[in-house]
């Protein structure tokens, strides 16, 4: 009885060693498994940033009084703005059209005159003046996300300015609702902190799905599968050996990404390493299973890579919550995203890095991933026969 298993293990061991030799000696494997992930991490770290600091805006100052100037100074010195000060709006409009600046703030010439009135909420006698404001902001709506930030920042800067003014006016009380804000898990509001953990999912998809499907299709094309099938080895043993080899590679690149994120880019890691490994392993298995299915259906490298990119990479990038917020998507697409393993991986990673061990969340995600693994492997085992047709 035991003999049977030792024979099986020997076969799997031999096949796995063969896989490794092939990986080392094949340049496209190294490209996809090592070079591309490192490139991606660096590009995501530097290139994809939703941290809006030093927003380029134009500032039209039509009032020279010290009051106005103090507000202008506060804007100029703020780390949120990068102001380009002019007297005339026209030059700035061109820049707005080109996207060189994202908004235009105008301090009208009546700023100081009316400011006192506004500061004390005294309605202005002149009916025409009722609809005027001390500050005008125009944001470039063609980029809605940035526009939000422009508007929000200006709102915040103005409110701050008023607050400072009120404090220096000690004779008046100034009552208002004051907000203390706390960004849990990401105090510095650094978008890199949520992007890099999510990118681990993308990179594992590359290795698990794209690389695996390529490699297996290549064996079909080169005819080496045929030679294997004529030996006593079973398809399951062949698949297991490939799984083991690419599993190790996938986990290896995960470790590499984690090390880069934490030690080079300073992303905090607050969770347990065991949980990290377990969830990554589960996700990697789903990616591998998908890659395997694709290659046994396509049996052709060109087709496999296309399918792997469309079915594996794109959803992982778009629908996993990596950059784009799932809850903002139309309902049908939200439903689809529930079927995508990368979604659970991204949430788990973001949580493990930034929040720590939120067991409820982690366990639910792990459960989803495990179910997917079961389904995938069921399909694989049902579909694999040792036949060429």
């Amino acid at each position: 009885m035991f003999e049977k298993y030792t024979v099986k293990i020997r076969k799997i061991k031999a096949l796995t060693i063969k896989e490794f030799f092939q990986i080392i000696r094949d340049s496209s494997s190294i490209l996809i498994a090592v070079i591309f992930p490192i490139m991606l991490i660096f590009i995501y770290a530097y290139g994809v940033s939703l941290d809006f600091k030093h927003l380029k805006v134009g500032l039209v100052v039509q009032d020279d009084n010290p009051d106005a100037q103090s507000f202008v100074l506060s804007l100029r010195d703020s780390e949120f703005f990068n102001v380009d000060i002019r007297r005339d709006k026209k030059e700035l409009i061109d820049k707005l059209t080109c996207g060189d600046i994202h908004g235009i703030i105008t301090l009208p010439f009546y700023f100081t005159r009316f400011k006192t009135a506004w500061a004390n909420n005294i309605p202005l006698s002149n009916p025409e003046c009722v609809n005027l404001a001390p500050l005008y902001v125009v944001a470039d709506g063609s980029d809605p996300n940035t526009a939000h930030f422009v508007l929000n920042y200006v709102q915040g800067a103005w409110a701050n300015y008023l607050l400072q003014q009120a404090i220096s006016n000690k004779d008046r009380g100034f009552f208002h609702v004051n907000v203390q804000q706390r960004f849990w898990f990401n105090e510095e509001i650094n978008s890199r902190y949520f992007l890099l953990p999510g990118s681990i999912a993308i990179i594992m998809t590359l290795i698990g799905t794209l690389l695996t499907s390529l490699v297996i299709s290549r064996e079909w094309e080169r005819g080496t599968f045929e030679a294997l099938m004529a030996t006593p080895v079973t398809m399951r043993e062949i698949y297991i050996s490939k799984f083991i080899a690419y599993f190790i590679m996938g986990m290896g690149s995960m470790v590499l990404c984690v090390i880069l994120s934490v030690f080079v880019f300073g992303v905090p890691f607050k969770g347990s390493i065991l949980a990290l490994f377990i969830i990554s392993a589960l996700f990697l298995l789903t990616a591998l299973g998908t890659g395997l299915l694709i290659s046994s259906a396509a049996r052709n490298q060109f087709l496999s890579s296309q399918i792997a990119i469309i079915v594996g990479f794109l959803p992982a990038f778009m629908l996993s919550g990596f950059i784009f917020e799932i809850s903002s998507m139309p309902e049908t697409i939200q439903w689809i995203s529930e079927l995508i393993p990368a979604r659970y991986m991204v949430t788990s990673m973001q949580t493990l890095f930034l929040a720590g061990n939120v067991w409820k969340l982690l366990i639910i995600n792990a459960a989803f991933l495990s179910t997917m693994i079961l389904v995938l492997f069921l399909i694989i085992f049902m579909k694999t026969k040792k036949r060429l047709d």
Partner: protein, 575 residues
């Protein structure tokens, strides 16, 4: 007789739900310890049959049993009994020789002791011992073949399946492989050797002939050739043009088949027919001599004979005036890739109306030389001239004088026949005003009218060949380059092809052909033998055979000549 090792019963295989059949009703029983040749051209169904026997495909109808084990029902036992070497040898290119052997040993469940026992024997048997740490992709064709064989033999199988093991391999290695196989047969291993080289059939004890999925014959090759006793002749000492003799021979009622052999013409008479030499216009000195039948003759007999009639090209092509000047001149052509010299100092010339063959095994340098002449590679040293135009300096103009037909026809598979014709007429200097006429002529000449709007991929092989040829000659080239034009092709299509070529030659077009297929080389007027990058010798097929003649070998074949002349050169180099 229960020493039947393989029993094939009424085997049928279809890949498209019985619309077409890749195998139609195969019945055969192989005895133990015999070498069975599975013979047939490309597409006949050989690989399908082998795969079914190896248990890799399921029969649509019928069954195969190996030593009593059905390939589907008792598939697990099959793996213990057979050794299988697929096309392309089944080797892992990224692993070394030893790693490949180890892998297959592990997969087949060899124990450590068994490995200790088998490995040295196999390495010695295949002469691969000094190469154990070389990567499989760096092995030559012959070495890869032997390694594939070694991997299939690890478990001392009872039945060895070899799928086209000799494809593209040099004749020396082919002979070595055969001697290995014969030794195995002595050890009571049964062997199935599939091939499209008809001459290998004669070495087998039994043959199973497949053509288009049908089993044409199963039995001893001797009995087939016996049928042709006293029906095969050679017309020798031809005074006139031997190609014309062949054409008129084929036109005779009593002739079944005819090919060129060196300076002679070989013909096969139909059953109970008399050959009358007078009808062949061979000249007064010509003689008719009876010769032994060979396997290809019997194959043609089974297929019904060669296509008749003259190639319509004869009327279509304008006559190029003949002169003694060389139309192709090659001077000291050399190509180095880094440290490796692929072609060294090649010099020869070709006249109009001459067929010149570059003969040599794969990797010898003939493809490199060929590519340099076509303008595909820049020579490192040396020069070549086509119609006086230098291919180095005025490449584009020189190429306009060449017609080229590649091995697998390189036509645009998704375009229709007419679209292909228009395309090639567009990129070659075909007279604008006459373009439509020329295209229509081609269609008529090659009988492509019913296929004008068919996509190339759907054309039958023979018509693909015609289309490729018409695309290559539309611009009336003075020289035609043919790269392994008929390897793997069935004999009938091959003969048709050569009738077209002969027609062109009769109009004084010069032909350069590369081949490793000896029979094809017989059609050439002169042959340049290339090995290890060097042009060993130039001569007519008969000249070469004479050079190899000796008391041991009074009438060598071209293959013998090749082997002997190459080994002589190898020895000379090592001295």
């Amino acid at each position: 007789m229960n020493d039947k090792i393989v029993i094939i019963k009424n085997l049928k295989k279809s890949f498209d739900n019985e619309k077409t059949f890749a195998l139609k009703s195969i019945n055969a029983e192989f005895s133990a310890g015999k070498i069975v040749g599975l013979i047939g051209p490309d597409g006949a169904g050989k690989t399908t049959l082998i795969r079914i026997m190896a248990g890799l495909l399921k029969p649509t109808e019928g069954s195969v049993a190996i030593l009593g084990n059905d390939t589907i029902l008792q598939s697990k036992n099959i793996y213990e009994l057979i050794g299988y070497m697929p096309q392309k040898f089944g080797l892992y290119e990224d692993l070394t020789v030893m790693q490949n052997l180890n892998l297959y040993a592990e997969l087949q469940g060899l124990t450590k002791e068994a490995k200790k026992d088998r490995f040295p024997t196999l390495l010695h048997f295949t002469a691969l011992k000094p190469f154990t740490s070389r990567l499989a992709r760096d092995l030559s064709g012959g070495m890869k073949q032997k390694l594939g064989l070694a991997c299939a033999l690890l478990r001392k199988p009872k039945f060895l399946l070899l799928d086209e093991p000799s494809v593209g391999v040099d004749p020396i290695s082919r002979r070595e492989l055969w001697s290995m196989i014969l030794e195995l047969a002595k050890d009571k291993v049964s062997i199935l050797w599939s091939t499209s080289y008809l001459d290998e059939a004669e070495k087998c004890q039994e043959v199973l002939i497949l053509n288009k999925g049908e089993m044409l014959y199963y039995g001893e090759p001797k009995r087939l050739t016996e049928k042709l006793k006293e029906r095969v002749f050679q017309i020798q000492n031809i005074e006139t043009d031997r190609r014309r003799v062949l054409t008129s021979a084929l036109n005779q009622e009593e002739v079944l088949d005819g090919v060129i052999q060196g300076s002679a013409v070989r013909i096969v008479a139909k059953k109970d027919q008399q050959i009358r030499l007078e009808n062949f216009n061979a000249g007064k000195m010509a003689t008719l001599r009876a010769v032994d039948a060979r396997f290809e003759d019997s194959f043609m007999d089974l297929l019904g004979g060669a296509p008749k009639g003259e190639s319509p090209l004869a009327k279509l092509i304008s006559n190029v005036p003949k002169d003694e000047q060389a139309i192709i001149e090659v001077k000291a052509l050399t190509k180095c890739f880094g440290n490796f010299t692929a072609a060294n100092n090649i010099t020869f010339s070709v006249k109009k109306g001459e067929i010149f063959g570059l003969l040599g095994p794969n990797g010898a340098g003939k493809s490199t030389t060929f590519k340099m002449l076509c303008g595909l590679l820049t020579p490192t040293k040396g020069e070549a001239f086509i119609s006086g135009l230098s291919i180095k300096k005025v490449t584009s103009q020189a190429r306009a004088r060449i017609g080229y037909m590649a091995q697998k026809f390189s036509l645009y598979n998704n375009m229709t026949v007419i679209q292909n014709l228009h395309f090639f007429a567009g990129i070659y200097p075909v007279d604008e005003k006459n373009k439509e006429n020329i295209i229509q002529n081609m269609i008529k000449t090659f009988d492509l009218t019913s296929f004008i709007n068919t996509t190339t991929s759907e054309l039958p092989l023979g018509f693909k060949q015609r289309l490729a040829l018409s695309c290559a000659i539309m611009h009336n080239p003075e020289v035609l380059f043919l790269d392994e034009p008929t390897s793997g092709v069935d004999p009938i299509t091959r003969r048709e092809f050569w009738s077209h070529i002969n027609a062109m030659v009769s109009k004084n077009v010069a032909i350069i052909i590369t081949t490793h297929f000896m029979d094809e080389a017989e059609y050439c007027d002169r042959i340049g033998l290339i090995n290890h990058g060097n042009l060993i010798t130039i001569g007519s097929p008969d000249d070469l055979k004479q050079m190899a003649q000796s008391s041991d070998l009074p009438s060598p074949t071209l293959e013998d000549a090749f082997i002997i002349l190459s080994s002589k050169q190898d020895e000379a180099q090592h001295v």
